[in-house]
Amino acid sequence: MKPPPNKGVELQIHDLHRSFGHNSVLRGISLTIPAGCVFVIMGSSGSGKSVLLRHMVGLEAPDQGTILFDGVSILDAQAMAQIELAIVFQHGGLLHSLSVGENIGLYLTETLGLPPREVNDRVNQAIEQVGLSVTQDKHKLPADLSGGMKKRVAIARALAINPGILFYDEPTSELDPITAVTIGRQIRQLNQRHGTTSIVVTHDRDLALGIGDQIAFMTQGTLSRPQSPAELSQTTELAVQDFLQAGTREDYQIDSNPS
């Protein structure tokens, strides 16, 4: 049975702070992500992107600040039960003791307690949506899958939840450029088909510029004003320019006469 379409959820963050010991990782992050958009948080490694994402999905608690989903605080467990959110982890986060099908149907059986037949239908549907084969891939274990397939299964598992908001943590890390493009296209496609708000945390600038409706750049625990890809390409901010332009052939040249 096809689940009812879930409309996108708006996310608001106000003045989010988080420190680990003396290390201040999030320094007053505030942003609003409109429902239904693909929002990319881009930044270099260690800038605090993944920590911010873990706060957004409730895996970490901030020292200060609020996170609201359609106006509902993440701390309000009862009201949050009505908001379906899902995350695609950097390494997939698939349970290695379960098959692909069991992983995708986990939320449906454990949390929703749906009957096996309905779970099976929704699992098959999710598998097909991410371009995998029900007959060939459903009974495989995660250990038998390639990196790209693991990411697709993780996306299928998130889709089976029918989320209003979907988070992706480095969805193209460890993937070759062709598979990365396929995954990026899939993120965009799913967003257009379901209207789910998609938040992508990445340091892959091609992916960010390719799929983002809005992109915010993260540096040392602070977040820049969200901009469209076109605006971001014209930015005068040095840190963003360096990030966007790094990796030319000249950057790899070794100075033969160091002073």
């Binding site: 873990r54 999905v57 899902a86 995350i87 390494h91 986060g93 349970l95 290695h96 986990l106 454990e110």
Partner: protein, 247 residues
């Protein structure tokens, strides 16, 4: 140290509170129980046979020399029942099963599997800890009963076949029957239940609090096994003292 004890106790309480979900988890319990029993039975058989045999071999000739050959069966029987089977099997379980639980949960923590469960509103205690703890609570007493029987058999084989002892099987058996009562068996079973609880909680606790990479998993496993063995020996003394007091 005190913090760790508090956290392990808190994990125990959370698991107890999730006990109503046990019926729903019975397939997982059966799966873990089968794995645990399967991994322990052969090793427990070998260990117990030789422990019983060594007990008879060490004490038998001395007792026969002093005209106390009728005590051999009782000595092997009581030692296996009250002390050696529960403690040795618990140490075996801590090494084989406890370490496997910590490694599995630790790697699930490190590779974001537990985070994935939390985001799907699936709490790790009823989903991961409850089935494993229940399975070990069922498996360890079973392995202990098996170990007691095999240990008695080992003692009997040595007592009958060793020329320096050379008592009959009937004599060994009647000493065993007259020397063992229900309280001896109850003591062994109570110990095995307490040890199983401690191994299960300590190993799950260390698995769930693993942070970092593969090296952290190794450290958690070592801590889990060492702390389980310490808990086994300390609680063994406490239970033995309790039974001495009651008797």
């Amino acid at each position: 140290m005190i913090r760790a004890i508090q956290d392990i106790a808190a994990l125990g309480l959370q698991t107890l509170r999730s006990a109503p979900q046990l019926r729903r988890r019975r397939a997982q319990v059966v799966g873990h129980f089968y794995q645990m029993a399967n991994a322990s039975l052969l090793m427990s058989c070998i260990l117990s046979l030789f422990i019983g045999g060594v007990l008879a071999l060490q004490s038998g000739p001395l007792l026969v020399e002093r005209g106390l050959s009728f005590v051999i069966g009782q000595l092997v029987g009581l030692s296996m029942c009250r002390e050696l089977a529960p403690v040795m099997m618990a140490i075996l379980m801590a090494g084989r099963i406890g370490s496997a639980i910590t490694a599995e949960l630790g790697s699930m923590k490190v590779y974001e599997e537990i985070d994935a469960l939390l985001t799907m509103k699936i709490h790790p205690v009823p989903y991961l800890v409850l089935p494993r703890l229940t399975a070990i609570l069922l498996a360890l007493p079973l392995v202990v009963v098996f170990s007691i029987l095999v240990g008695w058999t080992g003692g009997a084989l040595v007592s009958v076949m060793n020329q320096d002892i050379g008592i009959t099987l009937q004599a060994y058996g009647s000493a065993l029957r007259s020397g063992i009562n229900f309280m001896d068996l109850a003591q062994g079973l109570l110990k095995s239940l307490v040890f199983a609880l401690l191994i299960g909680l300590v190993s799950c606790f260390h698995g769930l609090r693993t942070r970092g990479g593969p090296r952290a998993i190794g450290q958690s496993v070592t801590q889990s096994v060492v702390q389980s063995i310490v808990c086994i020996l300390v609680s063994d003394y406490a239970i033995t003292r309790l039974f001495v007091f009651v008797e």
